[in-house]
């Protein structure tokens, strides 16, 4: 004899619709990641926000001081503005030259020529070098008297600058260092993928209409890879603003704080000066700045980024 479902079973079945069940199972499957994110990312972020309103030297419990840290950041810390300016200088150089350079490199490596695979590998390998090793290596290359670079320039009659030992050339030196590892790295791979996603028939159509190489690049390639450019631009700005390791290893922020970047300032205030509350405030201001830049980019993308599936009025 078949049993009649009880009222609670009927209620449960109505609540647990297939859609809800699927959603629940999906959450269950990603729960390890969610837990990890909450424990190792979101939790510390919330803690640092709370600490930014305190005086906290790590060794003693935090003391609430309200907005004092933020007041110091904007009104009394000259290094806040100095480090931000230097970081912006570095970021602008890296992003403009880096994105453009990676794109051009990707275009070159996208040609169907013999040896392309080997060249792609050669250009990619520097990006695998750890930053610390790269900084030490370039320290030698940039030596004003003994380094390869100035000795090479001397062969063609050019007296090389002091590179990392002068305030004018310190940041350009770090930019060169970063581009050596960054031009042919992940960004180039992403551009390559984007280039290979451009429909061939567009090129054929353009060629039929008499478009030359440059015209095809400008009117077909560039518009079609604007999503990729946008992606690299957003990540490039965030990544370049976060510059730290190379300054920490190669210059310690010098000479005369010429390479005293923002994240290095956060590190010094937090770990060297044991002022974790203030360092947290600096970090949240940094977050707000990056969020602003990202929001601006997302807002502006509608004017220049073309998505194939997008419908525009």
């Amino acid at each position: 004899m078949a049993t009649t479902p009880t009222q609670s079973v009927i209620t449960r079945r109505r609540w647990l619709t297939p859609a809800r069940r699927e959603a629940f199972e999906g959450l269950l499957y990603i729960s390890p990641w969610i837990l990890g994110f909450l424990i190792f990312a979101a939790g510390p972020m919330i803690a640092s926000l709370a600490l930014s309103f305190t005086q906290y030297n790590i060794l003693k419990p935090p003391t609430f001081i309200g907005l004092e840290n933020y007041s110091v950041v904007f009104a009394r810390d000259r290094l806040f503005y100095q480090s931000l300016t230097r970081t912006a200088y570095y970021a602008v150089a890296i992003v403009t030259v880096g994105v453009t350079g990676s794109l051009l490199l990707a275009v070159l490596l996208n040609q169907k020529l013999r040896g392309t695979v080997a060249f792609r590998t050669m250009f990619f390998v520097p990006s695998l070098t750890p930053i610390v090793a790269s900084a030490l290596l370039w320290g030698w290359i940039f030596h004003p008297e003994l380094g390869l670079l100035n000795n090479g320039l001397a062969l063609v009659g050019i007296k090389g600058p002091g590179w990392l030992t002068t305030t004018e050339w310190a940041i350009p030196s770090l930019v060169i260092m970063a581009l050596w590892g960054g031009l042919g790295g992940g960004r180039m791979i992403i551009f390559l993928a984007g280039l290979q996603g451009v429909p061939q028939e567009l090129y054929e159509a353009a060629a039929i209409d008499g478009a030359g190489v440059w015209a095809r690049f400008r009117n077909v390639t560039l518009p079609m890879i604007t999503p990729t450019i946008f992606f690299n631009l957003v990540l490039g700005i965030i990544g370049s603003f976060s510059v730290f390791t190379v300054a920490y290893v190669a210059t310690q922020g010098g000479p005369a704080r010429a390479t005293y970047f923002y994240v290095y300032h956060i590190f010094n205030r937090g770990f060297a000066d044991s002022d974790m509350g203030y360092a947290s405030a600096l970090a949240w201001v940094f977050f707000a700045i990056l969020l602003f830049f990202t929001a601006v980019q997302f807002h502006l993308q509608r004017y220049w980024v073309y998505y194939e599936s997008e419908e525009r009025q």
Partner: protein
Amino acid sequence: MQLRKLTSRRDFLRLSVLGAASAAVVAACAPAAPPTPTAAPKAAEPTKPAAEAKPTEAPKPAATTAAAAKPTEVAKPTPAAKPAGAAQQITLRLHARAGVEDEMFGNLLPKFEAANPGVKVVQEVFPGGDYPQKLQTLAAGGTIGDVLQSFTNSSMFQQFFVSGILAPIDDYIKRDKVDLSQWYKYSMDACLVDGKTGGLPFKSHPSRVGLFYNVDLFEKAGLKVPDLEWSYDTLTETAVKIHKPPDVYAFSHPWHDIAFYPIMSRMYGGDFFTKDGKSTEVDKAESQQGWIWHYDMMNKHKVTLNPLQTAPTPQDMFVSGKLAMFRANVGTKAAFIKLDKFKWSMTLAPKGPKGNRGSLAETDVESTTKASKYPDQAWELLKVLTSKEAGIGLAQQTGNRSSTPGGRPDVYNSPEHLNLPYPPGVQQVSLKAMNEAEEWRGPNNFRGLEVQRLADELSDLMLLDKEKPTKEYFARVKSEIQAIMDKPRP
């Protein structure tokens, strides 16, 4: 009853994820285990001599407060108080830097354990560059060990002590009638904060007062090698004669170094910090002369390697045979003990007009922690780590490890130290340097690293000739550094 299939893919996935999530939650909620003990590495990572703690003590064995009572020799490991329960094993956690003192620890700790049955010492080593931050993190997380090493120059020791991480040991000193004169007076003074003793001197040295030189280059140039009677003018004149780049570079000196600002200011009889550490003396003429001398060497005579160049280091240049002289820590000699490419030696930095060479007695401190569950045993270990045997063991370390001796006159004067296989006279000069070392001074508010960063910026401007070392320049240096020294303790 219909048998449900339990092995559908969906069910399998569901169960697996549930199991993994549960395991993650259980693991996250489990109490924190103490850090896994790490054996000290045999092949040590090279550690920059500049990262060393600095000795601060002149070697005079001054009378101590315990002098009236019979002094207790702390060299021999004494059995710690046995815990109740015959089979109970005590584990002491010792924090140290990786690859710096591991050879000495490797020899000494088994002897301590043998003399103290039931007590095991586990070393927890961390890379030197991260060591202070690592210990801060352990302290913040409540998992700090029992005995640890800390440094006075960066104010790490002082901050840890006033923050209640380190245990005062005055009661133990009194109980055991410890003779404090067995350490250098300046080394013991460095262990005092606000009148309380936070540890014992682990090792000490007179800082960057060593003048290393390439004998062959001097002989080739037909010049007299540096000696103890040189003045800074003599060094300048000789540097001008020997400097022939790119084959020979005359001189190199430290820079961007918390210890070097007091040293530079003392060269001509001045100082950088006042004795109470609440002010800077860089506005005094005799304090400025050392800065001006370095400016002239770089910009007027042009005979120094650019100290802003981080690679190659002066040691690299010296080993390559291209650098005639460089000023560095006396302990840097350990890096050249097997150097046989050319004849080299070491003397002390020249004397200024008032007889100062510019030195700074620097000390590493060994301390017990307040969190230790076994304070008596930790104290016994502390005494052993600061004993004569430990100090000699430090001096005898090989390879790229630190060879800074223990901060004790009986170590510096010992045959084991004096007969180490360095070029003739080097060890005697090291002893002389320690005997003449000038006292350690630092900021009273423990903001040494903040002061250093500012001093680095301002001194770079002078070194790069963007600012001349004028009265106005030094007034600015004084004012900006004083602003940091006026801040409260962090």
